[in-house]
Symmetry: none
Subunit: 544 residues, 2 copies
């Protein structure tokens, strides 16, 4: 059975750069281009050369090895020739394999936004495509507002598409610029367009304003388009663009599409999809979306006890695709609904193998339930769960012990008469029977405590040198300042590994202390540090 | 033209409670039920009575006024009569208008997960529906894995649906439990099911594992179902459930659906949708998704550029629906005028009347913008906003001043050798030129500070005697322990009035101090307390 080739056009670095509150540096753009080549998309739209210094610099050389490096621009201004439009000239002179030009196709826009006649606009499309081809570039035309335009004036929208195609544009891309079109409308309209431009030359550019950018893209593919434009993790203006990270697995793993089309992303790249998606969030310095389709940390996580036992009987019963196929993994969550089977699966995941009839299992289950009743939440804190398990099973080495700490927050007038608030922490740590005292100031009590705790751990110090706090979350579990507080801390180390720890107490500083201790102990555990030589330390669950 | 009634079934408190990392308190559940009644959904599925103490307590009474309060459960276990299945009995005895039972409809699951014969499973469906009706409850059957089951064995899946309907179930809900079904498959399969069960008795329950839960729900409506199950902001297990907050505006504002069906959500509730969505995130104590369809802060935001100018010419050219229709707003960097009129409206709401041309208005607008840039959020803190306004307008009496405070948290061994953590606060307050020192211990630094601050306010003491802290929320505004912290405090007094105050600082204790001070000052302001006699106190924004 022969399948059509479906081309993936990534616009993370152009339309994605419009994302509210996002700013790429040149280094960011170079790193993203590398990620996209690794993923195996066919086109990388890098930006708008000439529009700003950053994009101009980015197009000073080709930035991709595999993908066609694409410059974005606008069709020549009405009333000018292509060679007399400086904006267009910048785009054509940029180091790129292809040029994608946005063109008006909604008659209303031609009048209101462009202030030109319909004929002038068609001529501008024709001239721009021809100028790009004359410059040796593959030409693409983004038909802005195509679907709204088609509904308002189908003849003119089609005339724009036909003009671009007949002028030699390799691709005529139908854009749902406002993102308000429904999938069945997209499918019906695309079918009509294929009578004018062959599907092999049509693309879809969808936005997520009704939460249907992915569905709209797939509807267009069913109707015949053979190019999808989208972004990594669906970033983009307003609600974002079509999410390629969601689309790629569906195109490769769902029978309906796998039988219909093939894409340039191979099995191996698909297996790295989760890693690529998270690497992109790293570049944006933001936390990955735990609930993202296919690649989210929770995408294959199950909480309910009834489901959990069934999953262990046969994963296929509760998973629409195998997590490994997209480089993700199954997670059966320990929670207040936790059954023994959840627990064994979760232990296995943190590398602890234990027999189903091991009596220590009941003790651990009781312990987990008791702590969760106190407010601990281990499903979000793998590292704390691993430590708790090792502790209860008696397999946790003891490294150091905090004998005492004191945190002080003082608000007073400083020498120059300004009101200032200072935070200071003093900790007394015992390593191999030796007492080490450290003091530190921070911009808050938890920050001061964190700094003091990690200031001097004796012979363990070198092992925690690359330990870094990434995030700190506080949840008040019930009303009032006297309420129980849960602190969740995310840590990272030089190897790029991330782990989560949890602490619970009526006292926020105490809860933070527990989570900080768990994080340090987890780091030492995975570093394979030797236990403390002095084993006389009396053991305390929360203090080590 | 007559339109069918489409029913909205909210499962935020049941399926949504499966969300990885989320756990509702009883207070949370009560607050969410109120929100859902305000929104106007038809069914509120509150949980699984009998499965855990929380849900059992929640079903001790009806928690909704408008919506049908619905208990979730499982069909009776094979080999038992309905009356001998304790789990089923718990569900039927709960205070609820309706009961929704999950039933297996995939023959593979009946064998593997349930370990029963196909006939036993049909009997279990029939008996369960009849038992619910005998108990005076409206009966719903959730057909688990219906679409996977239908693809594997259509006859059996249909037999399950028919059995439920013929036994008298008001609704037969088709669940895409694994979330892997495509919209066109959903539409085609639903059309086949309507030959067996009328669409007026069919529902859809979609999950977002391919990013198409919304599209799948709408495809099912096109095919004839008249109930949609979903959650607020799309929370739910794995990648979440169908997002009702995205679906509702599409159903009401998009011609295709507005012409086809009508829902119980009115124009006014639609206009409060953004507020309701964010109030829900407040309850979850998480930051709203800036890019959420319709209600996200960025949903109608345009970065300056080609679009911005066109938007000013005619918003319709770049917005698929009017932002106001869903209680959201357009964001283009221009609207200081809008800001001003918003401000006047806000002032009016807290009882401050001021002329539109009052020069102090510009100063206040600048101050509010500066503080919101720092992280203050006044939409949730009326009392702090009122104090800020009075302060900037020069109409805030000064009552007392905190000269300094010191909070200490110490973890050490007590006399009996146990590790204990103690918190102590010392405050120095000035009233009428007299210095009053107080000290208090608390179960945490903020609690200790609160107690010390309210221990002795001199002649104001009697006026704050009935001041009570109701709730305390902490939000970390950006990653790391060095991040900015926002504290929101809810207070109440003997008259039963409640007010909210906010504080922001890198230092959590400092942020809490600001919110506590605002709360006390607001109480004195509304009590009409006399200003401090000594007016020489130098004024500090955050300290009074």
């Amino acid at each position: 059975m022969t399948r059509d080739r479906l081309f993936l056009f990534d616009t993370t670095l152009r339309d994605g750069a419009q994302t509210n509150g996002l700013d790429f540096s040149l280094e960011d753009k170079i790193a993203v281009a590398k990620l996209l080549d690794r993923l195996g998309v066919d086109y990388v739209e890098g930006g708008y050369p000439g529009a700003n210094p950053l994009d101009t610099a980015f197009f000073s050389e080709r930035r991709t090895r595999r993908a066609r490096f694409t410059a974005f621009g606008m069709t020549r201004r009405p009333g000018r020739s292509a060679s007399n439009d400086p904006g267009l000239v910048d785009v054509l002179q940029a180091s790129a394999d292809a040029c994608c030009f946005v063109a008006k196709t909604w008659d209303f826009h031609v009048r209101v936004a462009l202030g030109a006649t319909e004929e002038e606009n068609l001529a501008s499309i024709r001239d721009t495509v021809e100028a790009a081809r004359a410059a040796g570039r593959e030409a693409l035309i983004d038909c802005e507002h195509f679907f709204d335009g088609f509904k308002a004036n189908p003849d003119y929208a089609l005339a724009c598409a036909r003009t671009a195609y007949e002028a030699g544009a390799r691709w005529v891309v139908l854009c749902d610029t406002n993102g308000g079109t429904m999938p069945d409308e997209v499918e019906a309209i695309v079918r009509l367009v294929t009578a004018v431009v062959p599907g092999a030359h049509l693309g879809i550019h969808a936005h997520d304003d009704t939460g249907q950018a992915v569905a709209n893209s797939l509807a267009a593919v069913r109707a015949g388009v053979r190019q999808i434009q989208g972004t990594l993790n669906g970033i983009g203006e307003r609600c974002g663009n079509a999410n390629l990270v969601s689309l790629i697995p569906t195109l490769k793993l769902k029978r309906e599409f796998a039988d219909l089309v093939e894409i340039g992303v191979g099995e191996q790249a698909l297996g790295e999809l989760t890693q690529i998606s998270r690497a992109f969030d790293e570049i944006l310095n933001r936390a990955p979306n735990r609930h993202a389709p296919y690649v989210g940390e929770a995408a294959f996580a199950t909480k309910a006890g009834i489901h959990a036992s069934a999953i262990l009987k046969d994963p296929a019963t509760y998973e629409h695709v195998p997590p490994e196929s997209v480089g993700n993994r199954r997670r059966v969550l320990v929670s207040d609904q936790a059954g023994k089977s959840n627990l064994i699966a979760e232990l296995d995941r943190v590398g602890i193998v234990i027999a189903k009839d091991d009596p220590r299992l009941d003790a651990l289950l009781r312990e987990v339930k008791a702590l969760e009743a106190e407010g601990y939440a281990y499903e979000g804190a793998d590292a704390s769960f691993a430590l708790l398990a090792h502790r209860t099973l008696g397999t946790l080495p003891r490294f150091f012990d905090v004998r005492s700490f004191r945190v002080m927050v003082e608000r007073r007038f400083n020498a120059t008469g300004d009101l200032v608030t200072v935070s200071e922490a003093v900790v007394k740590v015992e390593v191999d029977g030796e007492i080490l005292m450290s003091v530190a100031e921070g911009n808050g009590p938890v920050n001061a405590l964190d700094l003091a705790l990690r200031k001097d751990l004796g012979r363990y110090q070198s092992l925690i040198a690359d330990l870094e706090l990434v995030d700190f979350k506080v949840r008040i579990l019930n009303g009032g300042t006297g309420a129980t507080t849960r602190v969740l801390i995310e840590s990272r180390d030089g190897a790029g590994e991330r782990w989560f720890t949890v602490g619970v107490s009526p006292n926020l500083v105490d809860a933070s202390f527990q989570a900080l201790m768990d994080s340090m102990n987890y780091k030492l555990l995975k570093a394979g540090a030797d236990p403390a030589r002095d084993t006389s330390l009396d053991h305390r669950r929360r203090a080590s």
